[in-house]
Amino acid sequence: MSLLEVRDLRVSFGRRKIEAVRGVDFEIAEGQRLGVIGESGSGKTVTALALMGLLPDNATATGSVRLRGNEIIGAPEVALARLRGDAVSMVFQEPMTALDPTMRVGRQVAEVLRLHQGAESGPARDRVVSMLAEVGLTDPTRIADAYPHQLSGGQRQRVVLAMALINSPDLVVCDEPTTALDVTVQALVLQKLDEVLTASGAACLFISHDLAVVSQVCDRVLVMLDGEVVEAGTVAELFTDATHPYTRGLVATARLELTRPGQRLPTVEDFYAPEARLGERA
């Protein structure tokens, strides 16, 4: 049995039931890392929030999401809260705003531990400091006593990573975790993510608009377009035999370095330009 099974997931918003996710199926095995790429509005973030049970209350989700056999869709809030932070955790895009500005980061990390394991404050603190060290933060005791505004973006994002991993979850959902970071910091955070995932053996769902970033962490990739999965396969397969023209366009544009400077770059539209996509997406 797979760790995560998503079957015909559909999510719609508002009273007019605008569908953001339109029948998505996929699975993640224990320890497997799956990348999801797509543009803004493709439904990738909504999919991630659906697996966390964190959709806003004007959203309706149907279909099935099973984590270790537990159905997420329609589960009561209390049951979901028990899973979140323990069996499944999440890393968000914006490190500058993802942490409570009024609380020391050490306490915020410790909170995850206490919430699910009822740990005493002494040992909790030790665990927090060693977790902060594990995500590559030098001087973790000082960092634990700092407020978020006293840390840089890369440091904060690693604090969030520590929060996501401290309970050794089965699955970590990462939503564009490095998009807001500088390239050098991105490289570091990606490397640490790779290390801690390997060390803990957790599975990962990694969302990004950047094929190159996804390929750093994941072996398998889903391509989403307008709420549907249009392609699935390994990164290598996407390059050699992508079936969907949109994927071929995406792959072609993702490799700027293959075009001589000043020459015309290939665009997605060279491969995939249905009338419906033009003008409709404001």
Binding site: G85, D86, E111, L115, Y147
Partner: protein
């Protein structure tokens, strides 16, 4: 030290505002057309009597001199004298401050006790009936003028049910039971009307928190919505609510003055109204100055409470080295 600097700066602002306020009051009463002496003596006074009073009050001096001597008096606690009976304004104020203070205090506490939980629920359940109900009730409450609210409560609890007295006041030390009984309706009136206004602010402050990434983070680590809001929302919402509260101080005070009139409580408001009706200009001027001073002082204190609530304010000097 940085903290001292912040406090010094805020105190500076307070002093400047106070000077501005005193200037405004002074100009309104002394520089506008209309002669203070004439007002005090009434329209049928002889010109000689007016001139004599002008000299007696020092109104024949140049305006800047008058202003400075008035301001100097305030700095040493001399808010002027009543023209009618010569009693110093501060002596007139003293016994009444307690009444207004109790009213403002209970009104404010009561409104917070109502508004914070109601506003939180309104935010959390904003898409379902509890949220709608609270928002609609607040909307209606905001439209009720405070004196009408008072009259309606009197109608219900004094006229029909006879549970509580309709008006009047008994000092705390004389009879605590009666004191409380006489304060219940006025304080509840003030609290209800203030709460209606506050609920909207509390609601939007918490909705802001609900839309924050750190609230989502809190949910993602396993807090239920209410507990995430309690744990990570209150302090953050408080940061924006403190501003509102600072601005509300003057509104509460005004409400208290009106409520005093409804329930004929012997507070600062009724003193002011009597003075206005008797054209006792110096008492009005002194009392208004005193009230404005209180408002400015409280808002300054409220502002400084940021330092306690928001760590970013407290350690703004420390280097948050950007995102590099």
């Amino acid at each position: 030290m940085h903290l001292a600097l912040r406090i010094a700066r805020r105190t500076g602002v307070f002093v400047v505002s106070l000077l501005g306020a005193s200037l405004l009051i002074f100009l309104l009463t002394n520089a506008l057309p209309g002669d203070v002496a004439q007002v005090l003596l009434g329209t049928d006074a002889t010109p000689e009597a007016v001139a004599q009073l002008r000299a007696q009050l020092g109104l024949d001096r140049p305006l800047p001199v008058q202003y400075l001597s008035w301001l100097g008096g305030i700095l040493v606690g001399d808010f002027g004298h009543s023209h009618l009976n010569g009693i110093p304004v501060l002596t007139l104020l003293a016994p009444r401050i307690a009444v207004t203070m109790w009213l403002v205090l209970f009104g404010l506490i009561g409104s917070l006790l109502i508004a914070i939980p109601a506003g939180m629920v309104a935010a959390l359940k904003r898409r379902s009936w509890p949220g709608f109900t609270i928002s609609a009730a607040a909307q209606l409450g905001m439209a009720v003028p405070v004196f009408w609210g008072g009259i309606l409560l009197v109608l219900i609890f004094a006229v029909w049910l006879h549970w509580l007295p309709a008006n009047g006041y008994v000092p705390l030390l004389k009879d605590p039971g009666q004191w409380a009984a006489h304060l219940v309706l006025p304080a509840v009136t003030l609290a209800l009307v203030q709460a209606a206004v506050l609920i909207r602010y509390v609601r939007s402050a918490f909705i802001e928190v609900l839309n924050e990434d750190y609230y989502r983070t809190a949910r993602s680590i396993g807090w239920t919505p209410m507990r995430a809001l309690l744990r990570h929302g209150i302090r953050n919402a408080a940061i924006s609510l403190v501003t509102v509260l600072g601005l509300q101080v003057s509104t509460v005070l005004v409400g208290a003055i009106v409520v005093e009139s409804v329930f004929t409580l012997p507070g600062l408001g009724s003193l002011l109204l009597t003075a206005v009706n008797q054209r006792d200009l110096l008492v009005v001027q002194g009392t208004v100055m005193f009230l404005v001073l209180a408002v400015l002082a409280i808002s300054a204190l409220v502002d400084l409470s940021y330092l306690l609530i928001d760590p970013r304010q407290a350690s703004a000097a420390e280097q948050g080295e950007g995102s590099a």
